[in-house]
Subunit: 126 residues, 2 copies
Amino acid sequence: MGILRKTKSVKILLDEFEEQSTAISAITLIERLHLKMNKTTIYRILDKLEDDGFLHSFLGKNGHKWYAKCSGCSSEEHHDIHPHFQCLDCGKVDCLPTDILIPDIPNRKVHVSQILLQGTCEACFN
Amino acid sequence: MGILRKTKSVKILLDEFEEQSTAISAITLIERLHLKMNKTTIYRILDKLEDDGFLHSFLGKNGHKWYAKCSGCSSEEHHDIHPHFQCLDCGKVDCLPTDILIPDIPNRKVHVSQILLQGTCEACFN
DNA sequence: ATATTTACTGCAACTAAGTTGCGTTAAACG
DNA sequence: CGTTTAACGCAACTTAGTTGCAGTAAATAT
């Protein structure tokens, strides 16, 4: 049901995503903010921000949860199904604007696609 | 370092994948075989069968580990990077022969791609 | 066929990400 | 300022997967 009150904790988390355009894992946030708030709070707020269409989540390598800002989503619909790129050197995860074409598959209907690419990122490439 | 001895447990696990062409999650195998072997053994054998190039693994929804037979892989190289399809109705997961084209991404080098499609499968479609 | 070696197994205890219940705190609003 | 209740912190839990170690059983040698 999304965020109802703009608490101190909510503001702190929003700031984290404002400062950084890359995706952030729940684990990273828990480490980074453990003096400021409890991990339960972090998970609950992330959940709600996702419901609100402010963040979207996906699973990185190891099946751990990552969050990144949405662009143009609402609480009604998430329409930012894009691939994510995780750098195997520095671990950074970005959203890729690139669209990957999912071909039609006979007798199946694809609703969701989760694409995680792994390799070497811009910064680590040089 | 792969399988060295063809034990009873190894044979039982190989049979599971022989009988079924779809992917099987580690959790399912643990449930299904808990009278025949310990979960530690299951995880260890699956690991080794993957090293051997007999199985490949990937993460399903929830980040849980799934395994499926390889076709034409060796202990040197896995070259069956294909998309996987998980049915949201029955939960079944298949390997898709379809190739999905990963476009070149400026200043990044893609090494691995993990594509999980979710939707409605053949059987649940009708 | 029996003995020896050591890879493999089972068990119990652990790790770590994420969840739940509940009593307390602090936003929001009259 | 007082009341309401959403949100918080804490501790305890859940569960997938891992680790260490002593005992078992494949494979190989005798």
